[in-house]
Amino acid sequence: MNDQSESQSDQPILRTPLYERHVALGARMVPFAGYDMPVQYADGIIAEHTWTRQKAGLFDVSHMGQAWLTGTDHASVAAALETLVPGEIAALKPGAIRYTQFLTDDGGIIDDLMVTRTASDGRLYLVVNASRKDVDYAHMRDRLPAAVTLEPIEDRALIALQGPAAEAVMARHCPDAAALSFMTATESRFDDIAIHISRSGYTGEDGFEISVAADEAVALWDRLAGADEVAPVGLGARDSLRLEAGLCLYGHDIDETTSPVEAALTWSIGKRRRTEGGFPGFDRVRSELAGGPSRRRVGIRPDGRAPAREGTEIVSDGVAVGTITSGGFGPTVGGPVAMGYVEIDKAAEGTPLDLMVRGKAQPARVARLPFVTQRYKR
């Protein structure tokens, strides 16, 4: 038996403010994006996944990059950020969150991120992927005008509470939380602890992402973990939850070779921006919007039980037509699920395909994303 999943790095490993909690809870710790992170706790990935879908899962996502982007007023900071992303930032109302991507000049995706217009005029709150922090920050410093200041936030933790019971749990400590709708955020207090709380997540469930001062993270974690409806959930279930929800993982489903149109993220490109442009890679995006991309990210369901992992070749009538970019077992679906890129004439829902798993063709079909119903509070 040989486990192929381990990865190694030469960099010194970082810890989040909740590291001691994970160890005390019996987590299995693994290196992820330079951090020592819990891949699972004692109950295991399937139990944690199911708990999140049925009750509320508690996630440490402090490895992600939080940053302030500040200008003289909203119009100027939004205009500056819009030179790097295709999302509609200018029209955001205070408290609104937008999902968008930093694009290369060729229209590839440098990273995907969340942008919040805070209540403080001229100040945006960004959350970027852990693995891309350094690249994103260098990119912004290189491209943004001097009047706009990037300030990475190094002294705050980020905790996610996800699942149908999340609202009831939060409401007991932070009535403001229950009043938020999906993709909005506010400054508030959790009991006596100052927080920045967003109604957002990476599981397909209703839930919250809570930014808190690092020295208060353990207190917040403990109060949340103490609720009957709440159990800690590691990166393993976070991955299976987001895969079932059809959400992209940077470096796997999207990277500098994939455009947002190919990645089926067209919905995140602002309507005004599709005609006005003014972001890197606009030529490619405009041409793909007009004529269609040559390939597209789709959901894929193997007919059988064998999971098809990342890197699996997708073939049609013996000819290669694409590659799986994320794949595994979906505990809520109860079988294997995957996402990948296929040539555009194979991208229609229901198209039969073969997946080359260990040299054997396994039948599969293009499936609608997400694999499970998203239960966001609109």
Partner: protein, 123 residues
């Protein structure tokens, strides 16, 4: 009846010239929830160290290697519908395959239970 262990975390329980093969309890613990198992075809001949099966957890796929050479004489068909049996009973009901040994001297290169326990503790 004797049980032998490999450094790749397979076990083989030998009765006469037939060995029953599975993965160890330590291995299933390391893998986590097993969601898919592939066993070889009956009648297939495998050499010691050959890939003889596959075990997949939520996160990853791993090979199961033949601990000794032989011909596959029976496989645990029940694992296809109940892969979690590997987690629940790795060293009994969660067995993968039975093979007829072609060279019993190969057993001498494997570990006994005490040696395997020490091997795991040193991991």
């Amino acid at each position: 009846m004797s049980v032998y262990f490999t450094e790749d975390h397979e076990w083989v329980r030998v009765e006469g010239d037939v060995g029953t093969v599975g993965i160890t309890d330590y291995a299933q613990e390391q893998l986590g929830d097993v969601v898919y198992v592939e066993v070889p075809e009956v009648g297939k001949t495998v050499a010691k160290g050959d890939e003889a099966g596959v075990v997949e957890s939520v996160k990853a796929a791993s090979e199961v290697y033949a601990p000794v050479s032989g011909e596959i004489v029976e496989v645990n068909e029940g694992l296809a519908d109940a892969p979690a049996k590997v987690n629940e009973s790795a060293e009994a009901d969660g067995w993968f395959m039975k093979l007829r040994l072609t060279d019993t001297s190969e057993l001498g290169g494997l570990m006994d239970a005490d040696a395997y326990k020490a091997f795991v503790e040193a991991q």
